[in-house]
Amino acid sequence: MQTRVLFFGKLKELAGGAEQSIEISSGSTIAELFDRFASQTPALAPYRSSVVASRNQEFAPWTTVLEPGDEIAFLPPVSGG
């Protein structure tokens, strides 16, 4: 299934864009989705432990299973304010 993925902050620069669409088998988790990007773009891999994910604009654990139509985002530590 096709999944829409958003990157922000430093991750956006490393991933080479703010938004990407990726084909991933149904039943995959958010962790597996990140690993897919990290294998394509090794510079992302070291950030795995300092990133949180969101699914449909709610913070989501790495074990979350993707559903068709999900909007996933990978968020570096936030620094608003």
Binding site: G9, T63, T64, V65, L75, S79, G80
Partner: protein, 158 residues
């Protein structure tokens, strides 16, 4: 711009924040206090001279998280209403990046709620700041938002 059930005001803006309008919005006849927080762009970071900042957000999620903060203040503190505005894009030294106004019948709740609002915003709202210096730019160190533990439902789906 959005008004909630409590007449709260939540804004993500690219133009300068109209702080006076936010104060006016929350200040009603039955309030005895309005406490505000004005977060502004500092001229240095860890001893390096800052030229300007750029803020970006996951806008739809940031807006929702700011709305959640305002809603939580009503359950935690005896307040009247809340206005929270965060600015995005390029900000110059001295400009306001975030402004929070909280009104309450009594000052204690207003102080505590305003403090809670900015502390929570800095931990949970997906906004990022890039600092531009004379010799380069860096994304500011931030806080990793807390993520809820995996739910039984999520596990069952696998």
């Amino acid at each position: 711009m959005a008004l909630s059930a409590h007449d709260d005001l939540i804004l993500l803006v690219r133009d300068p924040i109209a702080a006076d309008a936010l104060v006016k919005h929350v200040r009603q006849a039955d309030d005895g206090a309005v406490v505000t927080f004005d977060g502004c762009v500092r001229n240095q970071s860890h001893g390096r001279k800052t030229l300007y900042l750029e803020y970006e957000a996951y806008e739809s999620m940031a807006f929702e998280k700011m709305r959640e903060i305002a809603a939580s203040l009503h359950t935690l503190f005896a307040i009247d209403s809340v206005a929270i505005a965060h600015r995005l894009g390029r900000l110059e030294i001295g400009e306001t990046s975030v402004f929070i106004a909280v009104s309450a019948p009594h000052r204690k709740a207003a102080f505590e709620a305003c403090r809670h609002a900015i502390d929570t915003l800095k931990k949970t709202v997906p906004i990022w700041k890039k600092e531009f210096f004379e010799d380069g730019a860096v994304w500011a160190d931030g806080e990793l938002p807390p993520v809820p533990a995996a739910t039984p439902l999520a596990k069952r789906a696998s």
